[in-house]
Symmetry: C2
Subunit: 449 residues, 2 copies
């Protein structure tokens, strides 16, 4: 069972490292899973981490390195020579190896590749480096088990014996013809249940879902999730079998996706972790804050235009925050909903009008409730009656307009292939702040003067 990593445990390791007490470091770590050792390394500085990685069995160290997040790994590997990096890359699955190499500068990358003593792996890696990182080709691993359609189960088992050592987890066996064209899949279950003389041709499932190298990683996720696949073969334009993507890679992509969407919606533009540098963190937050700031300044000008109304009814100023806040919240609610739908790409999206009608109906209900409540509050608090009507009318229109804007903007962006999440959050909020102000003062202008 995984053991819990306490602060105390980490301090123990750190002192052991400072005392250069290799044995106690090893005895402390040997009972841990690689993933847990990684958790420890996240808490150590680069030097100490190197000390640990050098101590451990290279197999384990390379597995740990494969599992680290890009930034941390990069930060660690700075202290490694190309020789040392090559030693670990040699032991990684090709997809992990490529991830590591992609994080290095060209020089280091070339050096490491030239230092790989495993010829076949080097060739695989060079090949994989050609693919976009966020494509099926960039996700796939070269390691897989394939058998020829003309074989029998016996040969097949032999082949698996031969190939299996490079493959950490065997999900299935791919069946190809003499030209390496993907023909189908052979479940391990079927293989175990068959006897050696059975021809593969009788056993294999020709109905296999594959994906082309150039497809986006998000599409890989969608397909594997939709069809409950634990692995998917990757083919080129002629249907030749080039590699396979396993479910664990997809989990990582999914999580990244979710985090990026959430960050975009909440106005963080770069994909950042809390332990990034202070400047990176500020930089990631600044763009939206600046947009919001400009919005605010434009809003200020806008209000200035209506100074007449305000000086007439100073109490008007009281309700601007209420109006802008409501607009902003309704907007972000609407956009997050539509973004979710777009993400689950249901095909309902065709009937735009139908959807908008629904959005408007929903907004209508909330608009009536909110503006009604505010009206009664204001009457209760003996606000100027005309002003109270202005406020509620403005609120009513703001809720409606913001819902429509919050829904349409992401859909339009999506149609143009832009990530709709960018539209949500601060951008929509700012736009709706201004919209709210404009409506408020326009209504005021109509009803008060």
């Amino acid at each position: 069972m995984p053991r819990e990593i306490t602060k105390f445990f980490i301090e123990e390791i750190e002192t052991a490292i400072e005392l250069n007490d290799a044995t106690s470091v090893l005895t402390n770590l040997e009972e841990l899973y690689p993933a847990d050792i990684a958790t420890v390394l996240y808490e150590l500085n680069a030097e100490k981490s190197k000390y640990v990685l050098d101590l451990l069995d290279p197999e384990v160290s390379s597995e740990i390195l494969s599992g680290l997040d890009a930034d941390t790994r990069n930060n660690f590997l700075k202290n490694f020579t190309s020789e040392e990096i090559a030693r670990y890359v040699n032991l990684m699955e090709s997809d992990d190896a490529v991830d590591v190499l992609n994080e290095q500068n060209v020089q280091v990358r070339e050096e490491v590749i030239s230092l790989l003593d495993n010829e076949e792996k080097a060739a695989d890696i060079i090949d994989l480096l050609h693919y976009e990182e966020d494509s099926a080709g960039g996700l796939m691993a070269k390691e897989l088990i394939k058998v020829n359609i003309n074989w029998r189960v016996g040969q097949c088992i032999e082949e698996i014996r031969r190939q299996a050592e490079n493959v950490e987890q065997v999900y299935g066996v791919y069946v190809v013809d003499d030209k390496n064209k993907l023909l189908g899949r052979l479940g391990l279950k079927a293989l175990i249940l068959a006897n050696d003389s059975t021809p593969i041709r009788q056993l294999y499932d020709p109905d296999v879902i594959s994906i082309e190298t150039y497809k986006k990683d998000t599409e890989v996720v969608d397909i594997m999730q939709k069809y409950d696949l634990d692995s998917i073969p990757v083919v080129n334009a002629q249907g030749k079998l080039l590699g396979s993507i396993t479910i664990d890679d997809v989990l990582d992509v999914m999580q990244e996706q979710a985090e990026t969407t959430m960050q975009l919606i909440t106005g963080v533009t770069e994909n950042i972790e809390e332990d990034d540098s202070i400047f990176r963190l500020s930089r990631a937050r600044l763009p939206w804050l600046l947009i919001a700031m400009l919005g605010g300044l434009v809003g200020a000008r806008l209000i200035k235009v209506f100074e007449a109304e305000i000086s007439l009814v100073p109490a008007m100023a009281m309700f601007t925050p209420l109006i802008t806040a409501t607009g902003g919240n309704v907007g972000i609610q609407s956009s997050s909903l539509i973004i979710q739908t777009l993400a689950n790409n249901s095909i309902i999206l065709d009937n735009l009008m139908q959807r908008l009608l629904k959005v408007i109906l929903v907004a209508l209900i909330n608009a009536v409730i909110i503006s009604g409540l505010v009206l009664s509050f204001n009457i209760l608090f003996k606000e100027d009656l005309r002003l109270s009507f202005v406020v509620s009318t403005a609120l009513f229109s703001v809720v409606l307009l913001s819902s429509v804007m919050g829904t349409v903007t992401p859909m339009v962006l999506d149609k143009f292939g832009i990530n709709p999440a960018i539209a949500a959050g601060p951008f929509i909020t700012t736009a709706n702040d201004l919209l709210g102000l404009a409506v408020y003062f326009f209504v005021a202008h109509l009803l008060l003067l």
Copy 2:
């Protein structure tokens, strides 16, 4: 290869159904994967869907039903008799069967269970119904392949032959003792490579990560993701093997989690899909809007208190939207970041002070930039100099305060076991709107009077 589901294709099916042309419906659907037929059903009404499900091979229909999202499935099954439901439940894996039954009212549930002709399955289901839906027990399936530690590979293969038909995807074989206590795991790879006479005892991996039935589903996700597991055995307090959870179930939980977090942050309280009823959709959005409304009304009171300042410097009103918007945005940025960290539960969370210091430094940078820019803008636009200083001082403090609040609130909630995402979005935004106003007018009070 999956075929694309076009609007046209759906209309084709619909007309075929209306004409009661069973053969053309079947010929249209037979080339589709169950997941694609599901996509079609999402577009059909309950009656038409029933027509299709009745036509298809029950095996396929039950697989489709297992894959549908809860709301749609519920809506479909309304038109089914308990007998019909039982026919499909009979063919489902126990975990899917339980999901379906949990969606039915008690009477239907009892009827269906009593109608299950598969004794063993019925027993499994009744057992599984005892667990919380969001616990490991609620996620697990009873179907799994286990072998006795004292057997040899030969017997093992026999046993797999016997058990395999109930298990759609075999990830591995669990090894238990005579008392059904989980001892370890046996990879199919090892099994294929071994010969019949090898004792399991020599072959199996005793180091298997398992999880107790009562653990939260989110914990299951974290563990399976952290240790790259494609399946995890579920045990009771005495370590007896009760079931297993496979990666495909975890994908669904992950997606739900991501959606819920995003919805909470964007102020949608119930987990809703865009195709839910108008009232459900409004109800889900209303709570936050009401909180924001109350915030807005309180804000209005607050401003009233400072009417003196405003009537002295009417231009003050111009900048309230800028102040509140900035506070809101900074707040939601900060909270989304900390929520992400909490989700990836890194243990760094111990050193609260260290984290806060960092947050403050990041805020400091942005605060200086934003307030500096606004100051220069205002001077540029020849605003009253004292007011300009008030605005920038207020902005500066608001950015700092909102960052701290946006970070601390979720952490505190999390410590109390409340989902921190609830704090983010509208709640933080509203709180920060008020905070912003208070600061603004307080500063104004100090500097203007």
